[in-house]
């Protein structure tokens, strides 16, 4: 699924479109969908699977 050394391609879970994401993403990392701007969570890397990130909860923070 690697398109070149800097990006990976993956399916946007909301639109179904192929999107490019940075190649150095981590499992658990949150990225913004380049299509919708929605926050997506990296579920796995091999294969690259994305899912809609959890909504903000009241006890989140620092």
């Amino acid at each position: 699924m690697t398109s070149d050394t800097d990006t990976l391609t993956a399916e946007d879970p909301i639109t179904g479109e192929e999107i490019e994401i940075p190649a150095d993403v981590e499992v658990g990392e949150i990225i913004d969908s380049p299509v919708t701007g929605t926050e997506l969570e990296v579920i796995s890397l091999d294969p690259v699977v994305l899912d809609e990130a959890p909504e903000l909860e009241e006890d989140w923070g620092e």
């Binding site: 658990g28 990130a53 959890p54 009241e58 923070g61 620092e62």
Partner: protein, 302 residues
């Protein structure tokens, strides 16, 4: 590393740890179970666990369980317990004689209104738990106070019925965030905004800040008051003209510490200052792990 969401902060830390050749175990707490004497999380062979849970409740329970198994974790559960609750945070600071804004806690809307009236207007009503400036209310009048209290009583989670009322500190349009490890400052920045909330998460503008001796001392004492660890200490400058610019006048050199955060975010500090924040944090983690290893060897020798 305990996590439930890899933010830029965690990514910076992971990058630094791996660059130095450390074998890092990422533990997604959402997938684990914690029993009374063991966990499904792979913690047996770890030198040190770093809690980076975004969720306060998960952070508090996961660190408490790991501590119970004898797994070394930073920040420890006691520090988290104090820092996660604004009332406990204020009490710890006051008990250590660290200047902190005058605060009262009340459990009914009637008593809360009395607290608000005794502070006068404006004053501040905050949830005892929460972050990023959410659900903070600057109360300018009795009408506003009554409305906010009614909303909280009607809509709020039970914690919102613990009314945390605080004096309004007329800070000079900015506050100071210091990242410290066991009381030693790593980096500091100001967060400025025309809004009364200056949190970076609320869009406050950041700039590097040079700590003076007094601020350094207060950071050290505030850290000790909550049990130490990697902390975000928030200070406000006091005694500065409300419309004065402390960047030009040099400020008054006096501060009040309003909060200490235990799962501190540092990406804004890393961007705002010349300090390589993740490198300094990893220096501290390495020193912690080495101390623990030395302690274990000494125990075996004894």
């Amino acid at each position: 590393m305990l996590y439930s969401r890899i933010r830029k902060d965690e990514k910076l830390l992971l990058g630094e740890l791996r660059e130095r050749g450390h074998d890092v175990e990422k533990i997604d707490v959402r997938k684990e179970r914690f029993g009374l004497d063991s966990t499904t999380a792979a913690v047996d062979d770890l030198d040190l666990v770093v809690d980076r849970c975004l969720s306060t409740s998960r952070s508090l329970y996961a660190t408490r369980f790991l501590d119970s198994y004898g797994v070394p974790v930073v920040n420890g559960p006691e520090t988290g317990d104090v820092c996660a609750d604004k009332a406990k945070n204020s009490l710890a600071l006051a008990e250590a004689d660290v200047p902190t804004p005058a605060t009262e806690v009340a459990f009914t809307t009637e008593a809360a209104l009395e607290a608000i009236e005794s502070f006068g207007y404006p004053c501040v009503l905050k949830p005892v738990t929460g972050s990023w400036g959410r659900l903070m209310a600057k109360i300018d009048s009795r009408n506003a106070a009554e409305a906010i209290l009614e909303h909280k009583e009607t809509l709020g989670h039970y914690e919102h019925k613990v009314f945390y009322v605080q004096e309004f500190v007329d800070k000079p349009g900015r506050d100071v965030r210091v990242l410290a490890v066991d009381g030693e400052p790593i980096a500091a920045m100001t967060r400025s905004s025309e809004h009364w909330l200056t949190n970076a998460a609320k869009g406050g503008e950041t700039a590097p800040f040079e700590l003076d001796d007094r601020a350094t001392e207060l950071v050290e004492r505030a850290s000790e008051a909550v049990g130490g660890g990697m902390l975000g200490v928030d200070l406000m400058e006091v005694g500065v003209e409300a419309d004065g610019d402390p960047a030009e006048t040099g400020g008054s050199g006096e501060y009040t510490v309003h909060e200490v955060n235990h799962t501190v975010e540092f990406k804004a500090l890393d961007a705002a200052t010349d300090v390589d924040v993740p490198a300094r944090v990893v220096d501290w983690l390495e020193a912690k792990a080495a101390d623990l290893a030395d302690g274990a060897v000494a125990e075996v020798d004894a």
